[in-house]
């Protein structure tokens, strides 16, 4: 079943077009990667799907519009936005009360996630006093608290240590195994190669290529890694070569 359907999505910031009429589908049980350089339009695409910014075109999340599907979405933004005056515990209680979650369910889930992400010592410390990595962990736990069917993760592994990254990757794997879907943006090729079932290569607001890793390799007749494939698709291979030559002073 299709979890997310995006048709002709366009995102404008005044005169700038950040996303230019892109279309794709994400199925249940699938990790769909948005891969592209900085400023390619990944975050704008993700924000539109999360219902945070106005857009043109059509987005359906399990058949619903983003505004109506907020209970189905767990979103971890690239720039962490939390209420810094609260402690993580107060923040989770705040989220649970707005989402009207059952207290017992939340406590059980929270117990597991707090242990997994090792933030028990910080539960009563104001978020303002936490490190960036710990803030990210809090944001991830808050996104998982209501068992969302769709996880939208914008560069989720940035700022996380190796152990936490591994745990988050496992959580993602379990999520899709249980029938959930994940939209995941990154500019790190190795992560995309390891995690994603299908990848869309985005540049300048357009999808240049889409498919599994093998399909993308076939597309550009490359037997290299995803980085080679990406550079070929985005036409940056020659540019990189020239830069490297220039650096050989």
């Amino acid at each position: 079943m299709v979890a997310v359907s995006v048709e002709g999505l366009t995102v404008r910031y005044e005169k700038t077009i950040a996303v230019n009429g892109i279309s794709f589908k994400v199925n249940e049980g699938e990790i769909y990667g948005l891969l592209g350089p900085n400023g390619a339009g990944k975050t704008s695409t993700i924000k539109a799907i999360a219902g945070l910014i106005p857009y043109e075109g059509s987005i359906r999340i399990f058949g619903k519009q983003p505004q109506e599907a907020k209970n189905l979405i767990g979103y971890v933004p690239e720039e962490i936005m939390l209420f810094e005056s609260l402690t993580p515990l107060e923040f989770f209680e705040f989220i649970a009360s707005i989402r009207k979650l059952d207290a017992d369910d939340v406590n059980k889930k929270l117990e597991n996630l707090v242990s997994a992400f090792a933030i028990r010592d910080y539960l009563n410390t104001p978020i303002a006093a936490l490190s960036m990595g710990t803030k990210k962990k809090v944001a991830v736990i808050a996104a998982l608290l209501h068992n969302p069917k769709l996880l939208i993760l914008d560069e989720p592994l940035n700022g996380l240590d190796a152990k936490t990254s591994r745990i988050l990757k496992e959580i993602m794997a379990i999520h899709v195994k249980e029938g959930g879907a994940i939209i995941f943006s990154t500019h790190i090729m190795e992560i995309a190669e390891k995690l994603c079932n299908r990848i869309a290569v985005i540049n300048e607001g357009r999808i240049l290529a889409e498919g599994s890793i093998n399909e993308l390799k076939e597309m550009v007749l490359s037997d290299g890694d995803l980085e080679d494939v990406f550079l070929k698709i985005t036409g940056q291979e020659e540019e990189v070569r020239e830069i490297l030559n220039a650096l050989k002073l």
Binding site: A50, G51, Y75, F83, A128
Partner: protein, 317 residues
């Protein structure tokens, strides 16, 4: 609906605390190095209540003269002081309110109308005590001293109009500071001057407290001295806010006075509508941040003396 309203009120409490904290941190970025941030968070609510109570006390002190001696100049000064105090004591927190990031609320299952309402409640929380205190206290005091319901109603209208004007000017200034200056990184001289004015306006609350405490008696003396002058210029001043309300509450009645008061009431209604739409814009995330062609200038390096560079970076907010 009532339970929903009370839930939204609780949500606005969280946002309010967040805005006050951000305001404290932006006012003094070094606070986090000098004190443990936990202590700042713990005392943030207490400090805000202290400020509100202080504002109430100052307004009460300012209200003594117009209540005891209901002269036009006393009432006029009092109404002007309402606008002045709200603007200069509220500019820091309201700038933080305008700059606040409500994106997290938009992730949660809250409708647009609910987010707007939360935002409005949060804004109200910034001034709740002084706003309500003024609306009740001043008309009541006028009623007690005059036994005239009409004068009490006029005092009520005058206070409401003054409050609406001050809040509208506050939001306007905060948006200007936020969009054109505080978030701008370009280094033009004009922008530098605006930034300097911004710093001055932000630091005025400290002077404001001193000013009121030091010159309260002088203001009252000046007002009694110039009472005659004000009356002699009745024709012109009756067109000007807040003189028109001063004359009206004093008991003067003329067609031009009633006309100008009606115009200011109408203006206050428009200002209130604008205020609500501005707050709605903030909650929908459509407040524009600075747009400038600063990217090019950021990438250019110029050599200057270390002293000059340091001073420039200190002035840069």
């Amino acid at each position: 609906m009532l339970s929903n309203f009370s839930e939204l009120w609780k949500v606005s409490g969280v946002l309010y605390k967040e805005i006050v904290l951000q305001s404290v941190l932006s006012r003094n970025p070094l606070a986090t190095t000098n004190r443990k941030i936990e202590d700042i968070v713990k005392t943030v609510n207490l400090n805000m209540w202290f400020n509100k109570i202080l504002l109430c006390i100052m307004l009460c002190i300012m209200a003594i003269a117009p209540i005891m001696n209901r002269s036009a100049i006393n009432i006029t000064i009092f109404l002007a002081m309402i606008v002045f105090l709200f603007i200069f004591l509220g500019i820091q927190t309201v700038t933080s309110f305008v700059a606040s990031n409500f994106n997290y609320l938009r992730i949660l299952p809250l409708g647009r109308d609910e987010i707007s309402l939360v935002n409005l409640m949060t804004f109200f929380r910034l001034f709740d005590l002084p706003l309500v205190m003024l609306i009740i206290f001043f008309p009541l005091a006028i009623f007690v001293t005059t036994f005239s319901p009409l004068h009490a109603i006029l005092a009520f209208i005058a206070v409401v109009v003054s409050e609406v004007f001050s809040l509208a000017i506050l939001i306007c200034l905060a948006r200007l500071f936020h969009s054109k200056i505080a978030h701008s990184t370009s280094g033009s001289r004009w922008r530098g001057l605006l930034k300097f004015l911004y710093i001055m306006t932000w630091s005025l609350p400290a002077f404001g407290f001193y000013f009121i405490a030091r010159f309260a008696v002088d203001i009252s003396e000046i007002s009694s001295r110039y009472s005659g002058v004000i009356s002699s210029h009745y024709g012109v001043l009756s067109f000007i806010f807040p003189f028109c309300f001063g004359f009206l509450i004093r008991g003067s009645v003329s067609l031009q006075l009633l006309g100008s008061c009606a115009v200011y009431i109408l203006l206050a209604v428009f200002a209130l509508k604008w205020l609500l739409s501005a707050i709605n814009e903030i909650s929908s995330g459509t407040v524009r941040v600075a747009r400038d062609n600063s990217i090019r200038s950021q990438n250019q390096t110029t050599s200057s003396s270390s002293w000059y560079a340091q001073k420039r970076s200190e002035v840069d907010i």
